[in-house]
């Protein structure tokens, strides 16, 4: 086939070229398209939480509108629920911060008033929306999924067209079951080969962001492909898609395969019986055609990816565990130099400082990026039989949902963490964005399995280093960053787990 210049989606359809996965999902949900490219797309699922929904419900009330389709919505409080058992024991009444309490209570009231299903604070199904949706089978291949949260990209791991929206759009979807949208461009990120021992999905996505930059995916839907992606579990795939937004792309996608289908079978909202069979036939087509063309293709070699650690205040400021903090004097241009200088000042790091010399104050294992069962298993394997370093003020593990917590406890992971000196908490977003009481103090360095290392993200003046769960656990024990691959048998076990 000869090279073609793309002149937009319409031109391509006319040429009958193959479709990307994103193209297919888009056209399956296209209600109407205006001449200027603005389209109305139908939304199958909206996930709601307490922070970005109150103004949307208020808007509905003021306009006298009702939700278009109740069963498309599912709600749970996650962003500012407390994670200590003491506060959680009393449900909403135990929330000590009165402002947080109002917000959580408002979600409960709105869901009750409008008739939307909600998993309330101590429901065992409660958790981070992006953990709960897939866990319940409320996220299915071929869906459009939205939520007032940028990490909605997570659900793309199921070949669902999923992205974050603002509160005005939350209201728009509630009222119309549609979203005004413009078609994105297609990017494929291929990760080929086999990951080294101790290297995980988190390291893949951090390496991708380090490569293409925090705006590298702006305007694109990114499809992650290649043998290393295919080898990942659903948990790993969710970790990768989750951080597509940190590369600027609202949408991350992975094609359907047996791994996807095996994960979904038997989930609460997944189809059953004849519908399951019909759905399977439909889902199997949710892959990019062999002759599909992407506007941009990026390829990484899995074998070259080291465990990653972010050193700066943007997720693109990341390097391998064997690396060092960059020297602004060696920056490519003035903008980069200014950015690195400001980041090092905020982070309290010196140029060329070795990553393994960064000492830590706190460790956070959790967030919509890394709080699923596999993440907790990987961290527990590293922590088993060891002790958190005395210099660490707080090391906490926050499961992504009540069901993840229960499963982890059935597997005895909670005991491993507790014996090692970690705190074992109740589910929620917790210190990923520090809207509840879990936060960093000024100047504190944190090894965090979350997704953003922005200034102040985990607390005023706090210094975040993004890492995988295994790397976070190893850092907790050593008191500084260490290469998890050198950390006893844990790394080997973690890899076997992934391959199993």
């Amino acid at each position: 086939m000869t090279d073609r210049t793309r002149t937009g989606p319409q031109a391509r359809e006319n040429e009958m070229a193959g479709q990307t996965l994103y193209d297919k999902l888009w056209s399956q949900h296209l209600v109407k398209e205006r001449d200027d490219g603005t389209a109305l797309i139908y939304i199958d699922r909206q996930l709601l939480h307490e922070v970005t929904s109150p103004q949307a419900f208020e808007g509905l009330r003021l306009a006298g509108r009702k939700p278009w389709r109740l069963d498309a919505n599912l709600a749970t409080p996650d962003h500012n629920v407390p994670t200590t058992l003491k506060e959680r024991a009393e449900g909403n009444a135990g929330i000590e911060d009165p402002v947080s309490l109002i917000q959580v209570q408002t979600l409960d009231d709105n869901c009750a008033e409008f008739g939307i299903e909600e998993y309330r604070i101590n429901d065992p199904r409660q958790g981070i929306v992006h953990v709960v949706g897939p866990e319940q089978g409320a996220t299915l291949p071929g869906m459009t999924v939205v939520c007032g949260d940028s990490h909605t990209a997570t659900h793309g791991a199921f070949a669902a067209l999923a992205h974050g929206i603002g509160t005005s759009e939350v209201e728009h979807v509630l009222a119309t079951q549609c979203l005004l949208a413009q078609k994105m461009k297609n990017m494929q990120v291929r990760v080929e080969g086999t990951l080294g021992a101790g290297v995980t999905a988190k390291d893949i996505v951090l390496a991708i962001i380090g490569r293409i930059g925090t705006a590298g995916g702006t305007g694109y839907a990114i499809e992650f492909a290649g043998s290393a992606i295919r080898e990942l579990s659903m948990e790993g795939r969710m970790t990768v898609c989750n951080m597509a937004i940190e590369a600027g792309a609202r949408v991350g996608l992975i094609a359907v395969d047996d791994t996807t289908i095996d994960y979904l079978e038997g989930r609460h909202y997944a189809p059953a019986g004849e519908q399951w069979e019909a759905a399977l036939a439909d889902w199997r087509a949710l892959v990019s055609d062999a002759d599909a063309e992407f506007d941009k293709v990026v390829t990484l070699e899995a074998g070259e990816i080291e465990p990653q650690v972010s050193w700066g205040t943007s997720p693109e400021m990341v390097t391998g565990i064997g690396g060092e903090v960059p020297d602004p004097a060696e920056a490519a241009d003035e903008t980069a130099r200014t950015g690195i200088t400001r980041a090092l000042e905020y982070m309290g790091l010196a140029p060329k400082q070795k990553i393994t010399d960064i000492r830590l104050d706190k460790v956070f294992i959790g967030s919509c990026t890394n709080s699923r069962i596999e993440d907790l298993r990987e961290a527990a394997k590293v922590a088993r039989g060891k002790k958190v370093a005395d210099s660490i003020k707080l090391a906490m593990v926050v499961p992504g949902s009540g069901l993840v917590k229960r499963q982890a406890e059935e597997e005895g992971l909670d005991k491993i963490f507790l014996e090692a000196g970690f705190e074992w908490r109740e589910p929620g977003c917790s210190m990923c964005l520090a809207m509840n009481a879990d936060k960093l103090g000024a100047g504190e360095h944190c090894a965090s399995t979350s997704n953003r290392n922005f200034e102040g993200r985990q607390g005023y003046g706090g210094r975040t280093h993004l890492v995988s769960p295994a790397m976070a656990a190893a850092a907790a024990i050593a008191g500084h960053f260490v290469d998890v691959r050198d950390f006893g048998d844990a790394a080997n076990d973690a890899t076997q787990q992934q391959e199993a």
């Binding site: 200027d36 208020e58 940028s150 974050g164 728009h172 702006t218 519908q275 943007s314 903008t335």
Partner: protein, 217 residues
């Protein structure tokens, strides 16, 4: 939504790339269930020398004198001049709410993050993308000339500098229309109610498992 037609506004420069929405409005202020009142906490961590709390009286908080919006010459600015990838990160609409509440109606930058771009237009804020070289030059001009204003005309899709230079910009026809008329998206979409119902009916027949009431049947 407030209409935007034309604005002759004082320009404030924020010389920093990748300004994220956590920086525009830190998370503790997201606990509000209102759409208004975020302006006093816009760029809170840059603007004040202490840690801000929701509901706090800001009049006694120590201001950071080095921060651009605290400088006397930029008081009353309604046009923000910014760097690449402005608005990256979280989808919080509190970011454009804070900008609008503070008084900004226009942000000019070489590029914007996607979700922020959508959110801003839905709140009557016009985002203008200009080439990096042009933005560089505007930064120099603003710095050099106190009281620097830009005349922003959405209908004509152009910005006029004090020297009379005309800078044209692109904006989607639909967003432009909504902004010029101050239209509510939901009302416009509901004009297509029949088309949505038809689509939904076909969608349900083709893929009934996407509807929870059917999936468990």
């Amino acid at each position: 939504m407030q209409k935007f037609e034309r604005l002759d506004g004082l320009v404030a420069p924020l010389d920093r790339a990748n300004v994220d929405t956590d920086l525009i409005i830190p998370k503790q202020f997201l606990k509000s269930i209102q759409r208004t009142g975020f302006g006093v906490n816009l760029f809170d961590e840059l603007r004040y020398l202490d840690e801000g709390q929701p509901g706090q009286d800001v009049s006694n908080r120590p201001l950071n004198p080095d921060f651009v919006l605290n400088q006397p010459r930029y008081q009353g600015a309604s046009v923000l001049l910014a760097r690449q990838n402005f608005g990256c990160g979280s989808s919080r609409e509190h970011a454009p709410w804070a900008l609008a509440d503070f008084g900004f109606r226009v942000v000019i930058a070489p590029s914007f993050a996607d979700i922020f771009y959508n959110n801003a237009f839905k709140n009557g804020i016009l985002l203008i993308k200009l080439p990096e070289s042009v933005v560089d030059r505007l930064f120099a001009e603003v710095e050099a000339s106190e009281g620097y204003r830009l005349d922003v005309d959405l209908e004509q899709q152009r910005v006029v500098t004090p020297s009379g230079e005309i800078l044209e910009f692109e904006v989607d026809a639909f967003r432009k229309h909504c902004l010029l008329e101050g239209l509510d998206d939901i009302g416009i979409t509901l004009q297509n109610e029949d088309a949505i119902r038809d689509f939904e009916q076909n969608h349900r027949e083709a893929r009934p498992w996407l509807f929870r009431d059917e999936a468990s049947a």
